[in-house]
């Protein structure tokens, strides 16, 4: 999860996020190298003795600084497009969960087999127990089985919201009257936090998302218990 003074991404919890992390490292390394080169050139220009003031052009260097950036851009674009299409691959989801945005909470529906619905409100700061995270915990978590492709259908009941879980590389806008679909696969068990990512009113910052990825038997036990309570 996120920690104070964090600059980079959170650890990946899904294959898509792993690929995004790798791509980010790739692009960032290129950016740092180019920035180092530009910095060097700036220092060299500032410290020059102002000889060769009347050079108008140089075919060789102009060819280099045209072709090299084009090659670099292609080397950035190829993995980028690969990930773009990877994220849109057709998979066979084992489970469908509907996430509905409200002002200011999320409601979830597991309707594949039985009707399992619940709302997830943020736990107020004064009600937190030691070890819980401020502005991130909810009273009910979205429990999903590990290593199972899941379809998430996102929509909203009132205004625009956005369902986002950074560690899984998932963000999907919740638009009233529209059903958006995204895919999710938790690589490992754990608890993953997200927050509403589209301004939706006074408590936009106070409607988090918590996903709890558990082994399949635990998920079955949880869903059976939820149905018993309902």
């Amino acid at each position: 999860m996120a920690h104070p003074t964090q600059l980079g991404f959170q650890d990946a919890a899904s294959p898509v996020m792993e690929e995004l992390l790798h791509f980010h490292d790739h692009a960032l390394m290129i950016v740092f190298l180019i920035s180092a080169l530009v910095l060097y050139i700036i220092v060299a220009m500032v410290s020059t003795k102002l000889t060769n003031k009347f050079i108008l052009d140089s075919q060789e260097i102009e060819i280099v600084w045209t072709i090299l950036p084009a090659v670099i851009l292609v080397m950035i674009a190829l993995p980028s497009l690969r990930i773009l299409y990877l994220m849109d691959e057709i998979n066979d989801p084992h489970l469908t969960i509907k996430a509905m945005g409200h002002q200011w909470y999320w409601s979830y529906e597991y309707t594949d087999y039985e009707n399992l619905n619940f709302d997830a409100y943020m736990v107020p700061t004064q009600d937190l127990t030691p070890g819980q995270f401020r502005l991130l915990e909810t009273d009910h978590r979205v429990v999903i089985p590990v290593e199972s492709p899941i379809r998430i259908l996102v929509s909203a009941e009132d205004v625009l919201h956005s369902w986002a879980v950074p560690s899984m590389g998932v963000k999907m806008d919740a638009v009233p009257g529209r059903l958006n679909q995204t895919a999710l696969l938790a690589s490992r068990p754990g608890v993953y936090y997200g927050q509403c990512s589209e301004i939706c009113g006074a408590n936009h910052s106070f409607m988090p998302i918590v996903i709890e990825a558990v082994p399949l038997p635990h998920f079955e036990t949880w869903s059976a218990n939820q149905l018993d309570f309902a």
């Binding site: 600059l7 690929e19 790739h26 290129i30």
Partner: protein, 111 residues
């Protein structure tokens, strides 16, 4: 004792670029440093121009690092794809063993 937890953090440039733990980063930087040194020294030995040789060395560093980086990341990406295919294959084998969907099951003519 207290260093054991720090090993995984690595050396981060600007707080984000983890050179120590990022695949291919350390090798690319080292290749770039070596290439820069070689190219710069060769140019200096050939021309005896210090500043220009330094410029050539920097250009050599850029090109060698980038070339090594692209080559290594491409191979790393292919390896990750193979790793994922193997993992999926193992998972499918475990789940579907003995059934019609067993990926290792030989197809017979009448099916």
């Amino acid at each position: 004792m207290t260093d054991e937890g720090d090993k995984s953090q690595g050396m981060k440039v600007m707080g984000v670029l983890d050179i120590q733990n990022m695949p291919c980063a350390r090798e690319s930087i080292l290749h770039g440093a070596g290439g820069s040194l070689v190219v710069g020294i060769v140019h200096f030995l050939a021309t005896s121009r210090v500043k220009r040789s330094f410029d050539v060395g920097v250009a050599g560093f850029m090109l060698t690092t980038l070339g090594s980086w692209f080559y290594c990341r491409y191979n790393n990406a292919k390896l990750r794809v193979q790793q994922r295919m193997i993992q999926d294959g193992l998972k499918n084998k475990l789940i579907y063993e003995g059934t019609n969907l067993d990926p290792t099951r030989k197809k017979t003519g009448d099916q």
